[in-house]
Symmetry: C2
Subunit: 311 residues, 2 copies
């Protein structure tokens, strides 16, 4: 990258409206050309919660768009899936802001506003396994920086990504959060759980156990016997299970990516949990900025408003 | 063991009544002294399905007990748990028929019949993890034989056991069946599943994938993308998931026990699935006899009716 191009990327349009619209959340940002967030909307209007996407967008962002009619409007996340408003097909990896913005799908809303739906990312592993993400790539772009970096975005489906000079080279999904919820709520393991507070000692024990022989399906059973034999109180069992699954995720990702240092991108409390776990397993961990998605949307907007800069 | 003792064990009482009474099933056997099953009852009257254990026992076995008033009556399985009829505390490993029968709890039923509740087994691993089983130990005794053997009893909670000269040395639980059900029914993975039939190709693909880097939480996601990208039809996804979790179980057990040869004890269709999986992973597998529980109950009865033989 040349200094000139960086400057072009960074300047972007005078104002922009970026929406990170996922399954269960709606986060919108009004930004200036340097990426400073001037105003924001956070709501639970995820795509599963609303019927009329156009009206929901108007309700949250219509006043911004009226005030700044020339501001580009970008939407990323599950809103661009088949279950969303307008489908934007996946963009294959390796991909950076240029490739992603280049696959955006243009649409005109009921109020006549031009908006752009960002694609998600896909990657096919050498062994033929497909990977997909929608929305996380915006956050990843926002913290990608230069050089090689391994990022983790923890959650229901944790995403680990290898980023090289601002482009996502490959990534892998771990169904940690969803497996934790299913095992807690829909198996015998939940029977003895009496709370969900964080118990650091039980969490650490789960992390340590995840490295023993036998694998996850075996280790899970000690959440049962840990309660049966009263080695742990009922209120610690959830943390024991959490340590087990997060420990397995991290060990699996270490095998996959060869991780020594990780940037954790996510909400404060979950990010803190991952830093705790990564450190316990000897991996250096930092926490990314909380406005990663806004920053990523700004980089995408710069590509859309000045497409030549990405070629 | 001397020839005399074997003869004593094998002869046992003239008639015996053995009940393998689990969470969701009730299986009772009327046997002669050589262990031949003269009559049997199979029902869904597991401990979760019935309120009055005494009446349920009478309904299924009362006529046998009336006809053979001197026949010992043994009950094993979850019926001896805290949620069952009479609690029989766990017997620690290593344990064989002598140790297990020695910890039986005697009880007199409402009709005045003397019955004996068999304990379950417990084992504490060198790393401090507790293991428990109730009922499976009866089947294990029934097929234990002599020398060292590794057995697997597949199910919701698969039990792997190392048996040395008829005594359970150690064992490990894998929550394979329950994790499969929870992931199929209560996560996004079930959304694209359109059937539960066995698809050998998808099952084999799941087994193979279970050996790739990343671990189970990562591998699970390919059941999602395998459907999304139409690499597998919806009716094959259940088999793909089944191959993944059974593959992880077997690889975990191999690490745990150092398995080269396994005896599979269980229902015909699940046993066949495990033999298929074990063979695919290069482990020699045989299927145990279907009457393992009856045989085990007979060995326990011999210890109870001739306790000196076990000392």
């Amino acid at each position: 990258m040349t200094a000139v191009k960086q400057s072009t990327d960074a300047r972007g349009p005078a104002r922009l409206i970026g929406v990170d619209w996922g399954t269960s959340s709606f986060r919108a940002y009004l930004m200036d050309g340097a990426g400073a967030v001037l105003d924001r909307r956070d709501s639970a209007d995820g795509i599963l919660a609303v019927q009329d996407f156009d009206a929901t967008f108007e309700r949250h962002c219509g006043a911004w768009a009226d005030a700044h009619p020339s501001a580009p409007i970008l939407l990323s996340g599950m809103i661009g899936s088949r279950q969303g408003w307008v489908e934007a097909p996946y963009c294959g990896c390796p991909a950076g802001a240029g490739e992603i913005a280049g696959k955006a799908i243009r649409h005109v809303t009921a109020r006549g506003r031009g908006v752009a739906f960002m694609p998600g990312l896909s990657w096919r592993s050498p062994t033929g396994a497909d990977e997909v993400m929608r929305g996380e790539e915006t956050q990843i772009l926002g913290v990608a920086g230069s050089g090689r970096r391994i990022l983790v975005l923890p959650g229901s489906h944790s995403k680990w990504a290898e980023v090289v000079d601002g482009r996502v080279a490959r990534f892998a999904t771990f169904m940690t959060g969803e497996a934790f919820a299913a095992m807690s709520k829909h198996t015998i393991l939940g029977r003895l759980m009496t709370g969900e507070g964080h118990d650091p000692k039980a969490f650490a024990a789960g992390l340590a156990a995840s490295g023993e022989p036998g694998g996850l399906l075996h280790h899970l059973f000690r959440v049962r016997t840990g309660g049966l034999f009263q080695r742990w109180p009922g209120e610690a069992l959830s943390s024991l299970l959490s340590g087990l699954v997060i420990g397995h995720e991290i060990r699996g990702a270490r095998d996959f990516f060869g991780v020594e240092q990780v940037l954790v991108v996510g909400g404060a409390s979950l990010a803190a949990r991952y830093v705790e776990a990564l450190s316990a397993l000897g991996i250096e961990a930092d926490v990314g900025p909380s406005d990663a998605a806004a920053h990523g949307l700004r980089l995408l907007a710069a590509q859309i408003s000045a497409p030549d800069a990405s070629r």
